[in-house]
């Protein structure tokens, strides 16, 4: 018997994978003595070396902070070669080439860019591959006869899960068009401001007579495209605001531009001074520029590609005239027969027409114990086939499945969840109203005591200088920066409201299986009946060497910690005779050995190594805590949050885990159904739910903040506010720090812009600021907010390094 935890932590700090850099739990060696964490990483390493792409590791070590392990589970992606797919996704480039667009999961850094654009070296049928880092999309051009499935297999093997995209849907096209048109507007206004300024200086410098007149006319002509073209976004947004009977912060800008231009034209015609053309151009240019920066920052953060898009590309094995055909899920019809292999997720709801098996329904019900199913039974999409192959007659597809309906409920939940009222917006609205009132009053006052020219000057200056643009920028910018920074740390946050809500959190509610625990079997106890422990472990390693079964992985994990590196090689003279439900049977050096199930109940499994009939060792398998669970729970308690376990699992399991984590029994809740989880969450104040699986999805969407962890089914991902694509719980602490720090920056920004507005307003009131100064100062305040945010969020980067 041994103490597992200490061994684990010691070993993990020592070795890391030569391909992905992850800690090695069980060792894979290659011929040249490199060590890897899995067979997938080993084969990718070999592949890259063979094609002289070893430089990848140089870039990776230099620039990448995250590991990109190779995918072990191979998929053949044959459905990408079907006619349906070709018609819908593939674009003909020329007579001899065609292209496809993939969205890639897990693209992070320069090393990814380098490797992904070197694809032609790995497969000579690939003509070119171009990656767009900001959208994580890869465009692959192939020879006409090449197969797309092969490319997908390659990408998958390298560790980037590929999702084919239809060539630019309408939505993306629109975004691109908007981007370009905004850029054009900026270009026009920039050119106009520079030229207008030249002639304006001439006028300020004292040009007179014909010169002043012609300069004014030139400036009028130059300002025309700015007012009629570049400033369109302000008019639109102001008008939209008026239509919906609310007030937009663009309203004062639109009013200022139109008034200033009209008065400017009239003054030019009447040969009066003051025509404001320079102010208009500078104002529009600087404002559009800050909008563009904001927009770019926004795009860089989360919502790159709709999740729905990603979900409908699963391959399904359909049975047509007793042959297996791989098709895409959206091609299926009711009454089709679908074959589900061992370890695959059921794609549809239906009736079993052939085969017996056990199903893991945990994604639907949270029950970890597999359930036996047989012919004639109804089975549901989202459950996992743990046993042998099953043929299922399709009854419901997509949205109509039980899982699909859960998705539906979740999406409805989105609209119920009103976005928290944005205080900055409220302040802006009040500000806009008061600015208008003050401006009008000032205009009237100065018109009376002096003349309407003076009045207009002051009123315009007030409107321009107090435009709450910095205020409008203060909140979104800080949030967007932290959202994208968090994204780089594998924390994906749905929207900024989540960050703010997180600061109100009081209770952290954890699901058990897969969240606090690893979610799969690990060896918790070993009992050796022989003295030669290393030989025994080597025997097991030999038997399980080629297996990817969860039990085999748990064995390799255990062996990785308890057997010396040099001994972790299988015996050479060995054959595997039989693999069945009963166990693995093999012959090693002319002696027969077997690994058999001794005892198996819902939460525990005992497996024995036998030589012939004599027992050599027994191993107890159980789901165990994650490495950092205890630390994270303790840290949360130290920060004065209460911690609760909410699980669908039975009482004894929950109690065991709860004791290990030092969570008192009144905070442990077992055998809670998905519906009850909902109720429970609404009974406590400000809960943060952390979990995975569709059974948590509803609960997650009904909590203050819902967090889903890696390994979660897509339902949880859709429902959650935060998705952490990393199994480590420590990310939750990181998330808390990010939210706290961001809110600090936001508050600072708000305070600055309000102060600026107050000072600007009082100076303008007494005529110290001309409209031109206003046009310069106002965007300057936006810039200040911009820099303050960038400096403020820089600290977040360092934050991650401490943890």
């Amino acid at each position: 018997m041994s103490n597992l935890e200490t061994h684990r932590s010691q070993d993990l700090t020592q070795k890391s994978c030569d391909h992905c850099g992850l800690d090695i739990t069980y060792l894979f060696n290659d011929e040249s003595g490199h060590s890897f964490c899995c067979a997938g990483c080993r084969s990718v390493y070999g592949l890259l070396q063979e094609h002289d792409l070893g430089e990848y590791y140089k870039y990776k070590n230099e620039f990448s902070e995250v590991a990109i392990p190779a995918t072990e589970k191979s998929q053949n992606f044959k459905h990408l070669d079907s006619d349906y797919f070709k018609a819908n996704y593939i674009k003909k480039e020329s007579e001899s080439s065609q292209s496809i667009l993939f969205y890639l999961e897990g693209v992070h850094c320069i090393a990814c860019l380098w490797l992904l654009e070197k694809l032609p070296q790995l497969d000579h049928q690939i003509i070119s591959s171009r990656l767009n880092l900001s959208t994580s999309t890869l465009k692959v051009t192939l020879q006409k006869e090449a197969s797309f499935s092969k490319v997908a297999v390659l990408l998958n093997k390298l560790g980037y899960r590929p999702f084919p995209l239809k060539d630019q849907n309408e939505h993306e096209k629109m975004i691109l068009q908007e981007d370009r048109s905004l850029l054009l507007k900026i270009g026009v206004s920039a050119a106009a401001s520079m030229n207008v300024m030249i002639y304006a200086i001439g006028i300020y410098g004292g040009a007179e007579g014909i010169y002043a007149e012609s300069f004014n006319l030139i400036n009028l002509a130059l300002t025309l495209p700015v007012v009629l073209y570049s400033a369109i976004p302000f008019y639109k947004s102001a008008w939209r605001g008026l239509l919906s009977k609310s007030i937009s912060i663009d309203l004062p800008i639109a009013v200022a531009i139109v008034t200033a231009f009209t008065v400017g034209v009239a003054n030019t015609y009447l040969k009066y001074p003051d025509n404001y053309f320079d102010s208009i151009c500078v104002l529009v240019f600087l404002l559009l520029s800050s909008r563009y920066i904001l927009r770019k920052a926004q795009h860089r953060s989360l919502n790159k590609i709709g999740l729905k898009n990603l979900l409908s590309h699963q391959a399904v094995t359909k049975i047509v005239n007793k042959d297996e055909v791989l098709v895409s899920e959206n091609e299926l019809l009711i009454k089709d027969i679908v074959r589900v292999r061992s370890n695959d997720v059921l794609p549809v709801d239906g009736i079993i027409v052939r085969g017996d098996s056990t199903l893991n329904k945990s994604s639907l019900t949270g029950e970890t114990r597999p359930e036996k199913v047989t012919i004639g039974q109804k089975v549901f999409a989202g459950t996992i086939n743990m046993g042998s192959d099953l043929d299922i007659e399709v009854q419901e597809i997509g949205n109509q499945t039980r899982m699909g309906k859960i998705y539906q409920q979740i999406e409805d939940g989105w609209s119920v969840k009103a976005p928290i009222s944005n205080r900055a917006d409220q302040i802006s609205k009040v500000l806009v109203w008061s600015v208008f009132t003050i401006a009008l009053a000032t205009f009237a006052y100065y018109s009376m005591i002096s003349n309407w020219h003076k009045g207009l000057n002051v009123a315009l200056a007030i409107i321009i200088v107090t435009c709450p643009c910095a205020l409008g920028l203060a909140t979104p910018l800080a949030f967007i920066r932290s959202l994208s920074l968090a994204g780089k740390k594998n924390i994906f946050i749905k929207n900024e409201a989540v960050l703010e809500r997180l600061t109100h959190a009081e209770t952290f509610v954890f699901d058990k299986t897969g969240t606090l625990t690893l979610g799969h079997y690990g060896i918790v106890d070993a009992n050796f009946l022989t003295d030669d422990i290393s030989n025994t472990l080597r025997l097991i390693l030999t038997l399980e060497w080629n297996s990817q079964h969860p039990i085999a992985l748990a064995f390799k994990d255990y062996i990785g910690q308890h057997l010396d590196k040099e001994l972790r090689i299988p015996f050479s003279q060995s054959t595997i005779d039989e693999i069945s439900i009963k166990g693995i049977f093999g012959t090693i050096e002319n002696q027969s050995y077997s690994l058999e199930d001794l005892e198996s109940d819902s939460h525990k499994k005992i497996i024995a190594l036998k030589s012939g009939d004599s027992l050599l060792a027994t191993f107890t398998f159980q789901d165990s805590l994650k490495k950092d669970s205890i630390k994270v729970v303790q840290e949360l308690k130290d920060r004065n949050y209460s911690v609760v376990i909410l699980s669908g699992d039975n009482e004894s399991q929950v109690a065991k885990i709860g004791k290990e984590l030092d969570i008192p029994s009144h905070s442990r809740h077992s055998q809670v159904s998905p519906e009850l989880k909902n109720e429970f969450l609404s009974s406590i104040k400000n809960p943060v739910m952390i979990g995975d699986g569709a059974n948590d999805a509803m609960a997650i969407s009904h909590s203050l903040v819902g967090i889903s962890l890696k390994g979660s089914v897509e339902a949880a991902l859709k429902a959650s506010d935060v998705h952490i694509s990393d199994f480590r719980l420590i990310k939750i602490i990181e998330l808390l720090d990010i939210s706290g720090e961001t809110l600090k920056v936001v508050k600072r920004n708000l305070a600055f812009s309000l102060t600026y507005n107050l000072i600007g307003l009082s100076l303008a009131l007494f005529g110290f600021i001309t409209p031109l100064w206003g046009a310069v100062l106002m965007p300057l305040s936006s810039l200040t907010v911009l820099f303050s945010t960038i400096i403020g969020t820089k600290r977040l980067r360092q934050l991650g390094k401490v943890l």
């Binding site: 430089e55 860019l113 767009n132 900001s134 370009r180 850029l183």
Partner: protein, 60 residues
Amino acid sequence: MNAMIILVPFALILGLLFVGVFVWAVKNGQFDDLDTPAKRMLFEDKKHIKNHDNKEENHE
């Protein structure tokens, strides 16, 4: 000062020309992806030598 009659239109035409070039660049998609090219330029060019001998090595 009569030079202004030539210089001013010339300056304006020059300005217009640059706006035209900018419009062309935007429509051509030069500004669509601002992240990737910035990083792509960091890679060193390297003459590619195919090496298929690796498999044979290290077999003792």
